[in-house]
Symmetry: C2
Subunit: 254 residues, 2 copies
């Protein structure tokens, strides 16, 4: 059995740290990477400051199988991700001929020096194509540098997903009932102890009359996952609560 | 002039890294902390693993004025934040009498050992009250440990905000126009260079016919901010685009 590949997401952008914009890239990448067997083990939101980008990227690329950054690859002064990645790898920046051709074809007569700057990439970078608005992202070793605008980032990722070597997909199964967390904690601890290969999370929801708890199991082993979650369903029944296989919070924001 | 206080947000929770739930706590804290002059300089999303929590919290509490964690303080086996904070500070866990009284009053006859575990806190912790569902958070030195459920986290934070020593509030002003980023990049660079005390971000939006760019300035100096953003408005007018003071993306998710 080979080790499960891992991923780290680095969201680069002052607008996320100021609360102006809610990041949507981590949720997308987390789901998409889990599905292909590359679970996200950590995510960092950092400002548009070169030293921060260099330190965060270098720590992450040494520790995780894959690193994905979002944000900071446009034509304006605050787009410093490409130069920061070059600094992290200790390689010079240079005009990428393929990126230049893409920008020439897309912008035509409106191609100016600011836009051409988007073809200045770390030496040795491979392009990540942008089917939405042309200006490409790039990959250097295990670091994938993508746009911050979610629909562009998603299109970029969907184009490179096939190049990633995933482990077995991380499967998940939810069991929900109108029980309170504190009433199931002891039984749930025993189920977790009996299934160390299943990561069991307990998530309370609601208040007052509509309270309940959603138990989510995650594992790469379908049989082990089902055995554990069948026990969770039985635990709920023993306490007089009919379990359901739905996850009332999936995709929700609280 | 004293240095601006800073904050770091640490979101603890496998459910965020799996993409099952979209974090809402960073956006809330980022806005609320900026408003009281404590800008968030970094955020980390980490799994429910003690070694990860210890390393992340210890690095953050040494570097930032304030640290805020969310998640992992409930009654179930996967709630390991309190014990991990104790390990980070090298202090023992112990039953907190005040927390115990709160839980006794709230749960009455349904108080069991799993729920009582929520009164086991790092020695020396001060309580952060939970007006929603009783079980408290806590503060140890500059680290504030709060619930993961957004409405509980928000109520906890609102109760402690007055205890934080903020610098001048970070003011922001947006100027938006139907111009493309690449056409304003050069002029915008000059404005940023003339106003180093204003953090100017450029955010494109839309595609096709509804394209535009929102320029956001952020500063603690109102006069400097207004001078810089007036120049941005003039820049748009010079290019034939009527500027507006709205931020079409504020609070949006893309």
């Amino acid at each position: 059995m080979t080790a499960q590949p891992t991923a780290c997401v680095i969201v680069i952008g002052n607008e996320i740290l100021s609360g102006r914009i809610k990041d949507q890239n981590l949720p997308y990448l987390a789901k998409a990477l889990s599905a292909i067997g590359v679970p996200v083990r950590a995510a960092h939101v950092i400002p548009d400051i070169e030293a921060e980008i260099v330190a965060t990227v270098n720590a992450a690329r040494a520790r995780y199988t894959y690193v994905f950054t979002t944000g900071g690859i446009g034509p304006t002064h605050d787009d410093i991700t490409a130069a920061s990645i070059a600094a992290a790898f200790g390689v010079p920046m240079g005009r990428h001929p393929g990126a230049e051709r893409i920008l020439e074809a897309y912008y035509g007569e409106t191609l100016n020096s600011a836009r051409l700057r988007m073809a200045d990439l770390p030496t040795g970078a491979d392009l990540i194509l942008n089917p939405v608005s042309a200006a490409p992202g790039f990959r250097l070793e295990n670091v994938h540098v993508m746009a911050g605008v979610p629909r562009i980032m998603q299109a970029m990722f969907d184009g490179i997903a096939h190049t990633l070597s995933g482990g077995p997909p991380v499967l998940s199964r939810a069991v929900t009932a109108a029980a309170r967390e504190g009433d199931i904690a002891e039984a749930l601890t025993a189920i977790q102890a009996a299934h160390p290969g299943v990561d069991i999370g307990s998530y309370p929801f609601g208040l007052g009359e509509s309270i309940g708890t959603c138990i989510v199991g995650r594992s790469t082993d379908r049989a082990d996952l089902d055995a554990a979650m069948d026990k969770v369903a039985a635990m709920f029944r023993n306490l007089g609560h009919a379990p359901s296989d739905t996850d009332p919070m999936a995709g929700m924001q609280e």
